[in-house]
């Protein structure tokens, strides 16, 4: 499971002031659950996920992944985490099986286990034809499958996927969607981010709305519908954004 507590991530701006990409964010995602981090571009989704994957150090607060603290045990966090995003590219000069084996070895797996797991996944995702090809010669869809296998080769209990479908065509995006579902079926904790409302509606057990680095609202789709009185997720999202802007305005007036 993922548990995020008062997470803050600030970046220095050119003029010396600070920019809060993630501002006091807390939420949880349980095992056997799909949680969606929903927000427009620049809301802080990617930064949150980079902090969770230990690529970035948090400026404040912390989080645990499968019980391991991202500050204290980054190594353990990475061991228990499968991470996939538009920025996790592939080594073009390697062959598919070499690439997957490389990551398997980094996760301290036996070569025998790697082979076994790789064969399983190749069967499942229909990849057998191109396991020996160099990655640079693969199509986008094929590459996406390789990325999936790479992220899950060590069978992690927690999966984090940052905008996994962005830039993909419908057929390739479907691979990802079914992959996310299958992760849940295996009892994993899945956190994925998107700005596409339909994806959130279809996949998520719970939705965490994030805007300008802050959490707007959190809950299942039904709960959010009940709270706002809107049916469509688009409208629900806009409702919360307006509420948030009003609050900021009120705060501004108080000074």
């Amino acid at each position: 499971m993922i548990s995020v507590q008062n997470l803050v991530k600030e970046f220095p701006k050119k003029d010396g002031s600070k920019f809060y990409a993630v501002d006091d964010v807390s939420f949880t995602a349980n095992d056997n659950e799909i949680v969606c981090l929903l927000g427009v571009n620049g809301a802080g989704k990617t930064t949150t996920m980079r902090v969770l994957s230990t690529v970035f150090q948090p400026s404040g607060g912390t989080a645990t992944i499968h019980g391991w603290d991202i500050r204290k045990d980054p190594d353990k966090v990475r061991e228990n985490l499968g991470f996939l995003s538009g920025d996790t590219g592939l080594y073009n000069r390697l062959r598919v099986h070499e690439f997957i084996r490389y990551f398997g070895r980094l996760y301290s797996m036996d070569d025998k286990d790697i082979t076994q797991r790789m064969d399983e996944m190749a069967e499942l995702l229909d990849m057998k034809d191109f396991m020996d090809k160099k990655i640079e010669f693969l199509s986008t869809g094929m590459k996406q499958k390789v990325s999936i296998v790479r992220s899950i080769i060590h069978d992690p209990p927690v999966m984090i996927l940052d905008e996994p479908t962005s830039g993909l065509d419908i057929l390739t995006a479907r691979n990802i969607i079914s992959f996310i579902r299958s992760c849940k079926e295996r009892g994993k904790c899945v956190l994925f981010s998107t700005h596409i409302m339909r994806e959130a509606e279809r996949l998520a057990d719970r939705i965490v709305m994030i805007h300008k680095g802050k959490i707007l609202a959190e809950g299942s789709l039904d709960l959010l519908r009940e709270e706002t009185g809107q049916m469509d997720l688009d409208d629900i999202f806009v409702h919360y954004v307006n509420l948030f802007s009003d609050e900021v305005e009120v705060q501004a007036h108080e000074f």
């Binding site: 970046f11 003029d15 980079r50 690529v55 590219g89 080594y91 390697l94 996760y107």
Partner: protein, 671 residues
């Protein structure tokens, strides 16, 4: 650190790099092809070319104004040169020569020497810049010399003297160097240069690919989220670069060695059979390994810092230039290895290489070279690990680069360290190219013009352009009286201490004579004392302070006061274009920076600077007087003991100044 993971990273990187055709080409294929083509090809072309030239022969015009038996014999000898044809000179001989129809004009004249003998003068007109004409000259000269010997020997025989008389004094050198050593000397000249450059290029291709390349291809994040620590990644990549550059080096050495062997066996010199000694190669590889490591660490840092490979290559090129220049030291005949040289990176390898090739190296130099490089390596590795742990650097993307547009948009942001360095470079260029010319024409006027036009005026123009008020930006504010009173008590002892330091440096590494002379000129200008004082003390005191304590600290203020003082003092020292006074000027600059930034008023440092320069002038003018003699050893040097009272006064005055300006830091932070 998990060494197994390091090796996993290393093996994968090596495999990937070796699959890159570009890397493969530059590290392995290029050296294999380059040297044979270069050495053998060049050699073949040279011999071919000379052969072709000789085959083509030449046409030579002869003007024989002597017409004796001897001149005919000389001409007959010339006519025997194969492929040469001789024509009698007509009126158009110069025209033919200019049109390159004939390659040479030979004129024979004679004169009567004092003892009644006829002397023959032969003038060979030729064009030294033309290969064919040059060859013609060489052939004619050789033949004529042979005939001269024959003629003299004939004459001697007629006079009844043995022609052997001509060989009465037979001079011959006996070369004790064996062919191995000769070979070593030649190789020792240019090989270090080639090897160092090869090492660098080999490493840079790989290094740029390893981190900047990963950023460009968006694979870095894939690696960072995997179960591997940053230290393990850095070390793995680092080993890859070292391996590749050493591999590159070995391939290079073998290729050179093979090509040379081939060339020498072809050339038929007495060096045939001499190759590069294996022992020397092994020693050199051992010495090159730390350098390869150093290059690897520095290049890895650059690669980590860069956003993409192109940027990495841009940052690498100045480093490459510096390395090339340092490596060139092996070309200089006079410079030899010593313990000091052994501490300078690259230079030490270059000189060691030279010494090893002629088998005259000292083990201590080898050790110092390796040790000093290892120290630098540790610093460089530490730097690349630091950088790799800096997420701002590691995840830098293309969009947060500062552009020129940004500067125009935001005037407040003009004061960035980058712009500061640009300004400094421009000022330095102006000083070097324009100001030095002024000073050569007229020292006093040139100095004042430099101060006002090159140093002070641009500061005000810049602020005008930026629409900023000069006084607050440059900290031109009236200081408090009690601080001001302290300034002489700071400036005078500081000047004395710095002067003694310079004196101390001089006694260890004596300044060159011409340098001291040019410095002395400053105090011997044809001016009244107050004039000299204006030129040497007041003008720099005001103008240089405006730039170095007024403008420059604004560029670097984001680093905080301490670093700011150090940076501006470094620039101040560099601006004096004087390696001998670098340290003293730096210390003075740091003190002046402290006075201004601490108090918030530039007036302090202006006065202190003027006192410092003025004091040097006064000492040189009044060096004869009794009071000054008290503290002087001789006409130029102060007594070393003077440093003690000076240090005490400086310490006390600075402590008081520091206490008086307790508020100063706030003033500084506000502005």
């Amino acid at each position: 650190m998990n060494f197994r993971k390091v090796m996993i990273v290393f093996r994968k990187e090596l495999m990937e790099v070796l699959r890159d055709k570009r890397t493969l080409f530059t590290t392995l294929l290029l050296p294999v092809i380059l040297y044979p083509v270069l050495i053998i090809g060049f050699n073949a072309i040279m011999t071919r070319q000379t052969g072709v030239l000789e085959e083509r022969g030449a046409t030579v015009a002869i003007i024989d104004s002597v017409n004796t038996q001897i001149s005919s014999r000389l001409i007959a000898g010339l006519e025997e040169i194969p492929n040469f044809s001789f024509i009698p000179a007509g009126d158009d001989v110069q025209g033919l020569y200019d049109a390159k129809e004939i390659q040479s004009v030979v004129t024979l004249k004679d004169s009567l020497a004092g003892d009644g003998l006829i002397k023959y003068h032969i003038y060979i007109q030729y064009d030294a810049a033309n290969e064919r004409s040059n060859m013609t000259y060489g052939k004619i000269f050789d033949v004529l010399e042979d005939i001269e010997t024959e003629l003299i020997s004939d004459q001697l025989q007629i006079s009844g003297i043995s022609p052997e008389l001509m060989n009465m004094v037979d001079v011959r050198g006996r070369d004790t160097a064996d062919s191995q050593k000769k070979m070593g000397m030649i190789l020792g000249m240019f090989l270090p240069y080639i090897m160092i450059i090869m090492l660098f290029t080999g490493a840079s291709v790989v290094a740029a690919d390893l981190v900047a390349g990963e950023k460009e291809r968006k694979t870095l994040e894939t690696l960072l989220v995997a179960s591997v620590g940053r230290l393990e990644i850095v070390i793995g990549k680092f080993l890859t670069i070292i391996t590749l550059s050493m591999l590159n080096l070995i391939v290079n050495l073998f290729s050179i060695s093979f090509s040379l062997r081939f060339m020498l066996s072809q050339s038929g010199l007495d060096m045939a059979g001499a190759g590069m000694p294996i022992k020397a190669i092994l020693i050199l590889l051992a010495a090159m390994l730390p350098l390869a490591t150093l290059f690897a660490a520095i290049l890895l840092s650059i690669s980590t810092f860069s956003r993409n490979m192109k940027e990495a290559r841009t940052y690498e090129s100045p480093l490459m230039m510096v390395s090339m220049i340092m490596a060139m030291i092996s070309f200089l005949p006079a410079i030899e290895m010593n313990s000091l040289m052994a501490m300078i990176p690259i230079v030490n390898i270059s000189l060691l290489f030279k010494a090893v090739m002629v088998n005259e190296y000292q083990v201590s130099h080898l050790m110092i070279t390796i040790l000093s490089t290892v120290v630098l390596v540790i610093i460089a590795i530490w730097g690349s690990i630091k950088l790799f742990n800096n997420e701002g650097v590691l995840m830098r993307s293309d969009d947060d680069s500062s552009s020129l547009k940004g500067i125009k948009k935001n005037r407040a942001n003009f004061f960035t360290p980058y712009n500061g360095m640009v300004y400094f470079t421009l000022a330095l260029l102006l000083l070097y190219y324009v100001a030095s010319r002024w000073q050569m024409q007229d020292l006093a006027r040139g100095l004042v013009m430099t101060q006002v036009i090159v140093i002070a005026l641009p500061v005000f123009i810049l602020l005008k352009v930026l629409k900023m008020k000069a006084a607050p930006v440059l900290r031109i504010t009236m200081p408090r009286l009690k601080e001001l009173i302290l300034i002489p008590f700071i400036a005078i002892p500081a000047t004395v201490i710095v002067a003694i330091l310079a004196q101390f440096i001089n006694s260890i590494y004596p300044f060159p004579e011409h340098y001291l002379e040019s410095l002395g000129k400053l105090f011997e200008m044809n001016l009244p004392l107050w004039g000299s004082f204006l030129v040497v003390a007041v003008a720099p005191g005001f103008c240089e302070e405006l730039l170095f304590r007024g403008l420059f600290p604004r560029f670097f203020q984001k680093y905080g006061m301490k670093v700011n003082i150090v940076i501006t003092a470094l620039l101040f020292a560099a601006f004096h274009l004087d390696p001998f006074r670098f340290v003293p000027v730096f210390l003075l600059g740091a003190l002046l920076g402290y006075l201004t930034l601490r108090s918030g008023s530039i007036i302090h440092s202006m006065i202190a600077h003027t006192i410092n320069n003025g004091l040097a002038l006064l000492i040189s003018v009044f060096s004869g007087s009794q009071i000054i003699k008290l503290v002087m050893m001789d006409s130029e040097n102060l007594h070393y003991w003077v440093v003690i009272p000076a240090a005490i006064i400086l310490f006390l005055a600075l402590r008081a100044f520091h206490r008086f300006t307790e508020r100063g830091e706030e003033i500084c932070a506000e502005s």
